[in-house]
């Protein structure tokens, strides 16, 4: 039995009168790929925001390892080993690709500002190590030779990979990917899937994935959680979830679900 890395317990999120999430619970096992799916507006990204504390959940608890992380600040969550990407790519557009990676390493650099002003040997060593690591990460995300390009000038697929690279630069134990294949054609999608597999193999991290493309979800996930209207309607292995009438109803409507069940 694998260890639970992340545990979302009865999390609710309301904005005034609007209930975005109610009573959502699921566990993510260490080393697994766990997907969160659901129709548009189901609350998938809200779950991510509640985990990283970009939003503070209005009820429930979030546990990471043995520590409760709801109520921390986002930078505290990052320091504990959770990193994420965004549905609409959010790179630092006006700095270069390699600088984006270096910003991601912020947590692991120890130099401070007066060390930088005096250019102390410690700062120099720190910067050199960071630079080496950034170059290596650049290579890994397939952007070698593009490091000095401003992030906003990179191609779409490159931006996606750079964003994942930046998330990896924080050396997370859990990586949250918000629709990594959004806006990609089938070939690009396959490449991205292979890339995500490589990320897992190399960094041995746990992945929590929001995904729309069923092909991706079904072939990659160890476990799937399905949300609809802010509540969890199903959870299980991909094949189980696929057959679940509630899921089919949520995606295709109740008539289709009624039709599908006998089959």
């Amino acid at each position: 039995m694998r260890k639970t890395l992340l545990s979302v317990c009865n999390v609710g999120m309301r904005f005034g009168g609007l209930v975005a999430l109610s009573d959502v619970s699921f566990d993510v096992q260490e080393g697994s790929i766990h997907s969160v799916i659901g129709p548009n507006g189901a609350g998938k990204t809200t779950v991510f925001n509640c985990i990283t504390q970009n939003l503070r959940p209005t009820s429930g608890e979030v546990w990471f390892g043995d520590e409760r992380i709801d109520g921390l600040k986002p930078d505290g969550v990052a320091a504990r080993g959770i990193s994420r990407t965004y549905q609409n790519i959010r790179l630092f557009r006006n700095i270069t690709a390699i600088e984006n990676l270096l910003v991601g390493m912020h947590l692991h650099l120890r130099s401070n500002w007066w060390g930088a002003v005096l250019n102390t040997p410690f700062t120099r060593a720190d910067e050199r190590a960071a630079h080496d690591e950034a170059l290596e990460l650049l290579q890994f995300v397939g952007l070698r030779g593009r490091g000095d390009v401003l992030a906003r000038n990179l191609a779409y697929g490159e931006q996606r990979r750079l964003e994942i690279g930046r998330a990896l630069a924080t050396r997370p134990r859990l990586l949250l990917l918000d629709e990594p294949t959004a806006g990609m054609n089938p070939r690009e999608t396959s490449e991205m899937m292979a890339f995500v597999e490589r990320v897992r193999a190399r960094y041995e991290i746990t992945l929590l994935l929001i995904e729309h493309q069923m092909r991706v979800v079904m072939s990659m996930s160890d476990r799937v959680t399905v949300l609809d209207h802010g509540t969890k309607i199903a959870e299980g292995r991909p094949a189980e979830v696929q057959r679940d009438p509630a899921v089919i109803a949520a995606y295709l409507g109740t008539a289709a679900a009624a039709h599908a069940v006998p089959a």
Partner: protein, 562 residues
Amino acid sequence: MRRIGIGRTGAWVTWRRTALVGLAFGAGALHLAAVGVLLMLHQRWIVIDTLSLGQATVLLLAAGAGAMAARGDGSRWLQGALGGVCAVLPLALLSRAMDALTLQPIFIALSPDLQAMLTLGLPPAAATPALLALGAVAGLVGAGLRAAPRLSRALLPGAVAVLVAGVFQELIQLMLQQYEGPIGAVRDFVYTWEGLTQEGAITVFLVVTLLAQLFGRATQGRVAAMEPARRRQIWAGIALAVIVVLPAVAGSYIGQVLMLVGLYILMGIGLNLEVGLAGLLDLGFVAFFAVGAYTTALLTADAPNALMHLPYWAAMPVSVLLAVCVGVLFGLPVLGVRGDYLAVATMGLGEIVRVIVLSDFGAPLLGGAQGVLHIPKPQLGSYTLSSPVALFYLTLVAAAIAAFIAWRLENSRLGRAWMALRDDEDVAQALGINLVRSKLLAYGLGAAFAGLAGSIFATMLSSVYPSSFQLLISINVLALIIVGGMGSLPGVILGSVVLIGLPELLREFGEYRYLFYGAVLVVMMRLRPEGLWPSDVRQRELHAGDETAALDAGADLLPARE
């Protein structure tokens, strides 16, 4: 038949465009005339009894219109002439209107003197055709210069030299005043009391043109062969040499102007950390300047309300430190405020400082509206830095140190965190950047430079008054950063020279300074929103070419994570 129709339409479009370009320049000329700038410029000779600055401005506008207009596919010469005519047409109409109506009660600048300038001293019937003809000729010249770039490149240096020699004649004469002998003779030949002589102008033009022909070609080739980065370095080196040497030879007036430029550079470097790097739009920046100035004043002044009588060098670090503290305190209440709201909030905080100084509550300590007087000059051993030139060098050293610190910070972990903050605050935080710490460091370090500038400012003026710390200073500093290029150190220097130095040198413009400011800002935002000298994209990956090879060879030896 249809083709002719299309051709006509095409010609019509071209001519209409030509006329519109000309009229746009004409509108500019009309505006200058209506606000009084044109007449003011007219009162200054470039070449005595031949060409005033005002006339030169009108002719340059017409020539510019001609050059801009002459790019269609039709007859360039005709387009140039039409452009030039259209550029002076509004002035000609204005002149006619002033004959018929009394406009001066409405626009006080439309005076008989302006009318005299526009009619060129001719009777009304001859004046309008003469003005339009001049416009046409200027437009033709503009078109010609555009059509023959080599010719214009040959003539341009001479023309610019005459213009500079004429516009800055007061300054140059001031500089040359001290010399006798051959230099004095040259001065007397080239200049009279209030402008270039005719022979002088021709001589300057010929000499500069000749020199440009002799040396220009060779240098041009060599400059073109250089890498852009190297070229910039050389330009920066020349600029630096001029800045260092000029005040020593040019005397105290230039020293004073450059010192002011230096103070603004110091503040610009500070605000650049906040606005350019960290993206924190701060309109209360003058508060830190005021804190630095008042701290120095209260610690050193020979005044009844002074707290101590420290030497300047002891008061300066205290001023900087106190400015940092105020910067951090200042940052606390606005930590969660972003963007436009931050600008408004900081503006309020900046005003609070000024109001406190003016208030009855602060008056016993800070002197109220009377300020603090008798601030001593800094001593260096037995030498007192009392002259503007000596104080300029103090400012220069301070600015150099500030620039160095800012440059190191920019390329550090903190600098990257600031830039991340500027681009996307939420994401920066999600990557583990502590917003509170980073923002307060930006406010604190930015305030340090402003405090230093304030401290020097206090000893420069020997007195401080609350009226010196208006919101306008914050806006000036912000404007020079924007004009220079957000986040760019050389941009800060260039911006200070252009926005602070030039208006000081052209003292007649004093009154119209903010008019020019506005115009410059609008034009900059339209044509070059990234600033005069935008910040470089740092080359980090390629910079480490030698390390790259090693990395490629030993990629597997380096673990991704420990």
